[in-house]
């Protein structure tokens, strides 16, 4: 469904991605783990065309999207809940969700918003509140909810568990599982919480210094000594 080959991305002269290859198949949950600054967020953003890859090719459903404008890539069925949540602070929860449905229009809005409220009931209570005044956890739920509003076929999630209480983290991982299993949404998940992510995912990639170091099924990576030492030590 998504395949990136030989991706190089630069910020000025800094080479953040140094030849990355990944593949995500229809219906999978694939996770990407790696240390801070490895290039995980850069990869998700490069898939959406901002920043653009300087070299390499990205295919979505066989279509070359390497140089397509961001809004067109999104309209093809990709959604991203980006790093830092990026809720519109001066708009209400409901308006943020409405913006999420931009690619498909308002036709299914009521139905889709109910679905998001079912996943995150707190958002229903807060629907008239401004995004900037939500708590961190509520903002994270809103960011995920907003990315679901476009009925994406591929969902890119950048550290959805960041800064959240363990109970909420568990809830968010359950939501990811639900939308993958029940609605067939393919998920590409960037996580610091490697243990949870690898348990949830069908497959995983490990990234360091702008390159893919390793890949395998969730189980394989969980069992791997190096990964245990680098990303899972200190318990979970």
């Amino acid at each position: 469904m998504l395949s990136a080959a030989g991706i190089h991305t630069f910020y000025g002269n800094i080479e953040a991605l140094r030849g990355v290859d990944i593949d995500v198949k229809q219906g999978e949950i694939v996770t990407l783990i790696g240390a801070n600054g490895a290039g995980k967020s850069t990869l998700l953003m490069t898939i959406c065309g901002s920043p653009r890859a300087r070299q390499g090719q990205i295919l979505f459903d066989g279509v070359d999207i390497t140089s397509a404008p961001t809004y067109e890539i999104i309209r093809m069925g990709i959604a991203q809940s980006p790093e830092g949540r990026r809720i519109f602070p001066r708009m209400t929860v409901l308006e943020n969700l409405q913006l999420g449905s931009t690619p498909i229009g308002d036709d299914h809005f009521d139905e889709d918003v109910e679905r998001v409220f079912k996943l995150f009931p707190i958002l229903k209570e807060r629907q008239e509140q401004r995004g900037g005044t939500l708590s961190g956890g509520e903002q994270q739920m809103l960011a995920i909810g907003r990315s679901l509003m476009s009925r994406p076929r591929l969902l890119l999630l950048d550290e959805p568990s960041l800064g959240l209480a363990p109970l909420i983290v568990k809830q968010i991982f359950e939501v990811i599982k639900t939308i993958n299993e029940q609605e067939g949404v393919t998920v590409f998940l960037v996580e610091q919480n490697a243990y949870h992510a690898l348990r949830l995912a069908h497959r995983g990639y490990v990234m360091a210094n702008g390159r893919i170091l390793m890949s395998g099924t969730g189980q394989e990576l969980l069992a791997n000594e190096e990964i245990r030492a680098a990303y899972l030590e200190g318990g979970h």
Binding site: S50, P69, I74, R86, F88, R90, L99, S150
Partner: protein, 308 residues
């Protein structure tokens, strides 16, 4: 006479009419600033072009024998909004879009350059002479009379006030309620995120220029109807005053632009009415300086409630 309520009322009516012109232009400054963080110094020229398109339309309609005033006004209004919108769109497309992402100074200098270019363009096409027009409206209603002093509200002033009110309500609703307005506000708050949600940011910015130009063109039409004479230089002072109005109200704020426009109009009218006509511009700018000292974000400037 200056002490009477009637005189006061007269200044109020004049100031409101003037404020309508400034407010309509100010909205264009504030919308564009909100969405791309740039002062479009050529916006005053867009207003001037709107006035010229209006006068040309009136002349054509006159020659074609369409003299029924409501119809003529409606046609002129639609035509000037349409054609001025094309100028606004083109301005952004050829002069500003290629500079997006470059340092702000480059865009600022380009805007000043475009302002000079548009002035010269109109001067070349239409000559530097004044363009007078016969009054379209006549008459009015008497509001009040005492001794020899009559306060009247002309039909023209009623037309100006109601047209401005309707337009401001319509455009406020567009921004508050429609998907275009939502996209504009999203681009204003986080352009990168807006495009990650499938919003075509370039198109949204173009439409913002189009909206600003449409409102400025109506201000141009009002100016023409009110003063009956225009020239290629009217955009400068009106532009500076409207910009002042936008800053006074809080640049980036739509209600701020309307309020700022009204205030600048009133200050000008009352200053000329009670003190001296000569320093009316200084008065408006003086108030601006005072407001900015105590409220740097302007009267209705947005308090940021961002939490990261």
């Amino acid at each position: 006479m200056q002490g009477s309520f009637e005189y006061f009322l007269d200044q109020l009516i004049n100031g409101t009419t003037l404020g309508a012109v400034y407010g309509l232009i100010a909205i264009g400054y504030t919308l564009v600033y909100g969405i791309i963080g740039m002062i479009n110094f050529a916006h005053g020229e867009i207003f001037m072009i709107g006035a010229f398109i209006s006068i040309i339309c009136f002349l054509i309609l006159g020659a074609a024998g369409i003299t029924w005033i409501p119809l003529a006004l409606l046609i002129v209004l639609i035509m000037t909004m349409l054609f001025t919108a094309i100028y606004g769109w083109t301005l952004e497309r050829v002069a500003y879009r290629p500079l997006r992402g470059t340092p702000r100074l480059a865009a600022l200098i380009t805007a000043i350059g475009m302002s000079i270019f548009l002035q010269n363009y109109v001067q070349l096409l239409q000559s530097a002479r004044n363009k007078p027009m016969q009054p379209v409206f006549s008459g009015g209603i008497e509001l009040m009379q005492s001794n020899d002093y009559i306060v009247s509200l002309s039909y023209l002033q009623m037309f100006i006030m109601s047209l401005t009110l309707v337009l401001m309500i319509v455009f406020s609703l567009v921004i508050a309620r429609t998907s275009l307005g939502r996209a504009q506000r999203a681009c204003e708050q986080d352009r990168g995120m807006a495009s990650l949600l499938g919003i075509n940011v370039d198109r949204t910015i173009s439409l913002t220029f189009v909206m600003g130009a449409m409102l400025a063109s109506v201000a141009g039409l009002i100016f023409l109807l009110n003063y009956g004479v225009i020239d290629f230089f009217i955009g400068f002072l009106a532009g500076v005053k409207a910009f002042t109005a936008a800053v006074l109200g809080g640049i980036g704020s739509l209600p701020g632009a309307m309020l700022g426009g009204l205030l600048i109009g009133l200050i000008e009218a009352f200053w000329s009415g009670y003190f001296t006509v000569e320093y009316k511009d200084v008065a408006a700018f003086g108030i601006l300086v005072l407001v900015l000292i105590f409220r740097p974000t302007g009267l209705l400037g947005k308090p940021d409630i961002e939490k990261v």
